[in-house]
Amino acid sequence: MSDYLDPANEELLKDFFLEAESQVEMLESNILVLENDPGNSDAVDELFRAAHTLKGGAATVQMDELAEFTHLVEDALDAIREGKVSVSAPVVDTLLTATDITKAMLTDRQAGKIYGGDVSSIKAALLGILQGETVTVDTAVDAGSEPAQVATVEAPKDVTKAPSRASLSEYEILELREAAKEEQLIYAVKVSFREDNPMNTIGGIHLFTTLKGLCSVLKTDPDFEALYEDKYHPEVTYYVAADDDLEQHRSRLEISDVVDKVEIALVAAEETPAVEAPVVETPVVETPAEKPPAAETAKKAPPAKKPVEAPAPEQSTASDQGEPDAAPGDRKRGQPAGSLLRVDSRRIDNLLNLVSETVINKAAFNQVSNDFGENLALFQSVEGRYREMLKELFDSLPDYLEQIQQGKSVKEIRAEIGERFNDMPGLFDDFEGGYKKTVARFRGTAQNLGRIAGELQEGVMRIRMVPVSQIFSRFPRLVRDLSRSLKKQIDLVIQGEDTELDKSVIEDLLDPLIHCVRNSIDHGIEHPEGRREAGKADVGTVTLRASNEGNMILIEVVDDGRGIDVDAVRKKAIDRGIIHPNKQISDIEAYNLIFHPGFSTARTVTNVSGRGVGLDVVKRQIEKLNGTVTVTSAQGSGSRFTIKIPLTLAIIQGLLVKVGGEMYAIPITSVIDSHRIKPSQIKLIDNYEVFNVREDVVSLIRLSRLFRIPTEENPEYHYVVIVGSDERKMGLVVDSLIGEEDVVIKPLRDHFTSSPGIAGANITGEGKVSLIIDVSQLLELGLKREKEERARRELSI
């Protein structure tokens, strides 16, 4: 039914989903509260409210299956609220499963599908709660419903739903009306299909395509997706918009062998108000099938209500009518809904405030510009006078010379000249004073602008900031389920959930974080017996903590489990050939070996973690966010994962460097240090250019060669920027360093996106474009590329 929603309604749906999400979250968290404290009536009230709101919302947006299901949940909760049912473990399980199903229904709806999983057992369990008996329920939830199952739900045997399906709500008719062109008539074509056709499942589509050749199909019931299923639909209603009378095409619709009966009826749009009744009472003009040339009747059916009764002359051909509406299924798939962001209104107010300051600032600049103009005028007039006087002076020189020759004393003449031109030295004083004042004012205004721009930037960034509680809130449930399935007792402590992070970062943070927490619970925390033996409390603690550290954010996952066995890790790393047996590594380095691909120290493989793919993925994902992840541990008393990520991805500190005529920005977080070296300091080892930094040897990449920029190959000095992390670093050879600057990352589009080694672009203060270097990509790519280049150069010599 969501096929023909106009944009305004998309909004409504978005709002609904947003709200539903928070309701489900509320359901979940309160169920967990209830589990620990069965008598908590506040929690029950909250639960009831959430379920109720959800039900109401679902009904409004016509998600029947959701409304029906949440209604059951609501009933069950009502029974609990009234004290008829006490909260026991099975009840909690049932409620949680119901929440999961609700979630799955919502996800499916968001994807434009209808949840088709089997809900009968959970329904029975919910009814069981109502009747005061507890039924255990299979907690497996069919998360992504299969299309085939959708059909089962859609099956018309559901008698109670049949009448409601046949009718159109006022709103739907309006939708149809909007979808059709103004002069078109809307018909409801009800077709019954023969069951005895060997391929009776094709009928729905067959007629669909036939109709498409004649008119625009606006909507089908059951919907297009259902028709496409391999399922027999005895009766399908097509809502179509046609330019001419559909009755004249009746013969083409009555496909022998396939179609049993065709009923064509006009849907009158203008008369719709106050219609809620089923189809029989809607202003649909029934034209019985027996009247072959029913054209007359149908034409008269919409009497006078169409001002555009003029015989539509453009009998547009079938194909171009078919175009605009295409297949209804395409529409909902085509639109990935933009994510909604909830922003504290104060932040917006703050922005507005800053904008008004900018406007004032602009006025100040105007003023300054006027002042400069006045200054210029003043300068010109003063200059004019100055020139005049100068000319006068020169002109009078011969006179004075003559006078000297005639015997006048020089002293006398000097006095005379001094008197005549005495205002000449001070001629520019006024101008200078005014000009100085204007410049000062200009500086002040520019400074102001800088401050406002900075604040604006921060303000806009802050709009994108959301509290980490958005993802932290998923963990109580996760930990509960996990600890149950692993039979461990775990207490989850969440701290600093108000810490804020950029929205785009937070979305990519969830998976790695889940992985870390799972890892802690699975590998870290011991079973109660194990803990008792180690002299610890039965209940293990996992702490999830977020905090700010400069413009980085710190997320820690701390457990008080058995910690990481350094020797086991070391041994395994050697076994797997990750490190050389003779290599001396510190404990810290050893801990971080667990992020190496293909590393898993779990002795047995569980379904939670320990397939050997895991922590390396975490590391990769975090690095994608320009962050780092490290682990420290104390054997026997727990371990700590520390994830450090920048607050935002949109602005980074960059080191600007110059290569040939080009400017590049290197993210400062990956810069280790920089050096100025003589060409003689570059050595060749095994065909690689390297250079010694203290006791380390670092291989070099010449950016000029990598990006094929012509430049001076043998200058007096090279500048080398060492980038990477401790274990993998590399020197980038550049022509010169420009300096540090805030770099606003602008994504590169289209064919640039595939350029390796480039993360984006930036516009510098002078308005030039500098490309931002993707260090991790460069590390991988650099060696290979440089080597190839060198080989080629050697060949050409």
Partner: protein, 144 residues
């Protein structure tokens, strides 16, 4: 091509294979089975259709169609064929000539492919085993 507007009411006695101008309707049969090709051919020629060519797979069918075009009015297209199946051939033909009149010939159990074909622009479909009246009915219905 025949257009729906100027088509007069058919006298049932008249041969089905004649177009409105009395000219025989030209058919291209695409089927990898000789037997089916023959069968369809016989049914159609007996009603006055003219089988202008036949092809043993989709690729050949497509090439023949392009070669004959516009001197071909109807294509019967088997779905399962070597080299290029009927659905892809249909797609290519529709790309080439979006007014092409293609009728799919399908075995039972290929519902999904038939649906796909219909959506791609096939006019109609016939289910094997073929029977005379059914073939004629479907084909005449689709050339109208």
């Amino acid at each position: 091509m025949k257009t729906k507007q100027d088509f007069p009411s058919i006298n049932q006695k008249e041969a089905l294979g004649k177009g409105p101008d009395g000219r025989a309707i030209r058919v291209l049969i695409v089927d990898d089975s000789m037997f089916v090709t023959k069968q369809i051919g016989q049914i159609l020629t007996s009603e006055g259709f003219e089988v202008v060519a036949s092809a043993a797979d989709g690729q050949e069918g497509l090439e023949k169609y392009k070669e004959l075009y516009p001197n071909v009015d109807l294509v019967t297209m088997d779905i399962t064929m070597p080299r290029m199946d009927g659905v892809s051939a249909l797609e290519k033909i529709m790309e080439f000539d979006n007014k092409a009149c293609v009728v799919m010939i399908s075995a039972l159990g290929k519902q999904d492919l038939v649906k796909k074909s219909l959506l791609l622009g096939a006019r109609n479909y016939i289910v094997k085993p073929l029977d005379r009246t059914k073939v004629l009915e479907r084909i005449t219905a689709s050339i109208r």
